[in-house]
């Protein structure tokens, strides 16, 4: 069975807590806060004013520049405020607050559930529809999908890889999507293949989800989806990383930055993104909702909710029986890549595939000890870096040497910190180094 060639870890996947919970539609929130930055790139610019009436699916903020994404109203109601509010990390960001009144949708949106497979649009039209719908990568990185699909001149996409790996422990939103919305997913893949003009698409799924693999294979055979295959991959974290998935599926290695995955002819899209693409292109439905896993060993109730963006994390947790007693850590995402949430009034955003609740003792870090140079982090690093070294270089602020040691290659998967027997916060320091080195690289580019 295939997997990526170097590094990686195998944490306990903990998917059992929520994997058998079917997708439920969560009750509409009374009030939503929509951040203007939910994607990588420039923040969107609000095009509504306080007091405006908006419909569900109406565009409320326009993309600023190419690498940015439109934002649509997830509910119908009145714009209550446009101001800076605290996000999950407690930082103040511009948000549009909408108070709900009923549930009126924009008329052009087709809300029927029947599958619409036929798509005769040209690639450019498909991409422009995806752009209008504000679709971003829903695996967590939130890179605008239309940018990904716009292949630079002189390069050609050969293969579309759909990321159904979901290697992050605990999360099951992509898994449930593959099981329950398989046909929409496959039609979305067909549309993406058309947009990229490729003949072959591979859906990568880890082998801890054998029923998803079997189900998708069934649907492909029944629905006669041509050129799409499902590839079971050996379970290993971080297989869902773009470069790791390309290596696992095609055996090709993406060169170091600034090279993009397209330089080896591959384009990677998340499974949930593919469903969103289907809805945008065939049903004119912009990205206003997603499946979010609410999970954790201590929670009374785990769920896979289909919920509208802007729903406060607090109300999602309340719907799952509230927070358990004692100290807890709430994560936006899973335990490996997720970011802790300190403000529970913060909204669910486009990149939030799950909300994981860990108890204080599960989340606490061990005491920091000295590095014993065991090189476990080196074996675990899926990018072939030396985490103990670049983290030390960052700590000592030796930015140039950190750059020489390819700090910018780090994908922040956290394998090094996970595996360290001395409990060193390796990734924390590497992240600082990455930020500073990135600034240095930009400053150099500006000088030129």
């Amino acid at each position: 069975m295939r997997t990526f060639p170097i590094g990686g870890i195998h944490p306990s996947d903990n998917k059992k807590w929520s994997k058998d919970k079917a997708i439920e539609v969560m009750a509409l929130p009374d009030e939503v806060a929509i951040p203007m930055i939910q994607h990588i790139g420039a923040p969107a610019t609000p095009i509504v004013a306080k007091g405006d009436k908006v419909l569900t699916g109406q565009i409320i903020a326009q993309a600023t520049g190419f690498v940015s994404a439109n934002i649509h109203s997830p509910i119908s109601g009145v714009v209550k405020a446009i101001d800076e509010f605290a996000n999950g990390e407690g930082l103040y960001r511009q948000m549009i607050v909408i108070k709900r009144e009923g549930d009126e949708w924009v008329e052009s949106i087709d809300r029927s559930t029947e599958l619409k497979r036929e798509c005769k649009l040209s690639p450019a039209d498909i991409i422009s529809k995806i752009k209008d719908a504000g679709i971003v990568g829903m695996g967590g990185a939130t890179f605008p999908t239309h940018v990904k699909l716009t292949v630079p001149d002189g390069q050609k996409a050969e293969i579309l890889i759909i990321n159904g790996v979901e290697c992050e422990p605990y999360l099951t939103s992509d898994y449930r999507t593959m099981l329950e919305r398989g046909e929409e997913l496959l039609t979305g893949v067909e549309i993406l293949m058309r947009a990229l003009n490729v003949e072959r698409a591979v859906i990568g799924v880890e082998n801890n989800k054998p029923d998803a693999v079997a189900h998708l294979n069934d649907l492909i055979a029944k629905g006669n989806y041509r050129g799409i295959e499902v590839m079971a991959l050996k379970t290993r974290y971080p297989q869902g990383g773009e470069k790791q998935l390309i290596a696992a599926v095609t055996g090709r290695q993406v060169p170091p930055p600034p090279a993009l995955p397209i330089s080896v002819g591959a384009v990677v899209c998340n499974a949930s993104t593919s469903v969103a693409v289907y809805e945008a292109v065939q049903k004119n439905k912009p990205l206003i909702e997603r499946v979010v896993t609410i999970t954790g060993k201590q929670l009374k109730d785990t769920h896979n909710f289909l919920l509208r963006f802007g729903t406060p994390i607090k109300s999602v947790l309340d719907a799952a029986g509230g927070l358990p007693e004692g100290d807890v850590k709430v994560l936006n995402g899973g335990p490996m890549m997720g970011r802790s949430v300190v403000n529970l009034d913060a909204p669910v955003m486009k990149g939030c595939s799950g909300i994981t609740v860990l108890s204080g003792c599960e989340a606490s870090r061990g005491k920091e000890l000295a590095c014993i140079k065991c090189a476990k982090c080196v074996s675990a690093c899926p990018m072939g870096l030396e985490p103990y070294l670049i983290s030390k270089l960052s700590l000592r602020q030796l930015w140039d040497r950190a750059e020489e040691h390819k700090i910018m290659e780090c994908i922040e998967c956290g394998c090094c910190s996970y595996t360290c027997p001395s409990n060193l916060p390796l990734l924390d320091y590497i992240r600082i180094g990455k930020q500073t080195v990135m600034g240095n690289i930009r400053a150099r580019a500006m000088k030129k």
């Binding site: 407690g90 930082l91 103040y92 300190v342 320091y429 600082i432």
Partner: protein
């Protein structure tokens, strides 16, 4: 015995020959250097802190000797007087600058700014700042992990365990600016140093609205603008929801201190204005308690 004498003799002769060779080589390949560089280096404090922007005192003195116009060069550790004497030695004119001192502008001590979460990751302000706001609800306040204290080469910065805040010893501070660069929240500012280490400044950097500040911290600036109105010298400006005292214009009259409802304006080594029945600051504190 014989072997001992022989060894001493051999080594002495060898040493003498090498000394002669080295003497001639040194004469032949002598590097001409301006002797003033050494003199200037002796006049500089030799802290090698980098506060001047150069790698060390040696490179600073080279620049001082080589550059025609040295008004852009300044050693904050040595101070204005030394710069003037260096300039007169070199026959150039020095920049005129008053003494400065690093000032940490956050008053959110543990009792005024409660913890709302706990953090157990890397003990570094830069790391915390890259992750989230920090343990309090204020997104602008001092994190208290001491990146500035680690950056200070003069031992002027300590973290007070009772308040959780950074304290700067004005006597030890040389205004080299290392802490200003180290603070990821940009809380430390170089301000004018008054005699007797007196100081007055707004101990808050929060740009949030008043209501948000009040919720997060009892010592924050809520942007009411009362201080700016009362200032007779026009030294206080309001930037959004935050007051700022311009140290160059301020005359230490302290009228603003009694106006501030949250006590965000901090005075150091000075008494508050006399003959006031009871300062507004105390009243506000009392009514809250």
């Amino acid at each position: 015995m014989n072997a001992l004498v022989l060894t001493i003799l051999t080594l002495s002769v060898l040493g003498a020959i090498l000394a002669v060779i080295l003497y001639f080589v040194a004469q032949r390949f002598k590097v001409e250097e301006d002797p003033r560089i050494d003199d200037v280096e002796k006049m500089l404090p030799g802290a090698n802190c980098g506060g001047c922007g150069f790698a060390g005192c040696r490179s600073m003195s080279e620049a001082l000797v080589k550059m025609d116009d040295i008004s852009s060069l300044y050693c904050p550790v040595a101070g204005a007087q030394t710069m003037v004497s260096i300039a007169s030695y070199l026959g150039k004119s020095a920049a005129e600058k008053g003494p400065m001192v690093a000032t940490m502008r956050c008053g959110g001590s543990c009792d005024k700014r409660p913890k709302v979460n706990s953090y157990d990751g890397a003990r570094s302000c830069a790391v915390v700042n890259s992750l989230y706001t920090g343990e309090s609800a204020c997104a602008y306040g001092c994190l208290g992990y001491g990146d500035c204290a680690a950056a200070c080469q003069f031992g002027a910065i300590v973290i007070n365990p009772n308040t959780g805040l950074v304290e700067i010893d004005a006597d030890k501070c040389t205004a080299c600016g290392a802490c200003v660069k180290a603070c990821p929240k940009a809380l430390i500012e170089m301000r004018k140093k008054w005699p007797k280490n007196r100081a007055i400044y707004v101990a808050c950097r929060s740009k949030s609205r008043g209501a948000v500040v009040m919720k997060a911290c009892k010592a924050g600036c809520i942007g009411c603008g009362k201080c700016a109105k009362v200032c007779p010298f026009g030294a206080i400006s309001m930037e959004g929801n935050l007051a700022y005292i311009d140290a160059e214009k301020c005359k230490l009259c302290r009228k603003c201190v009694n106006e501030c409802p949250t006590g965000a304006i901090r005075i150091v080594n000075m008494e508050p204005l006399p003959k006031e029945p009871k300062s507004v600051e105390n009243k506000a504190a009392e009514s809250k308690a």
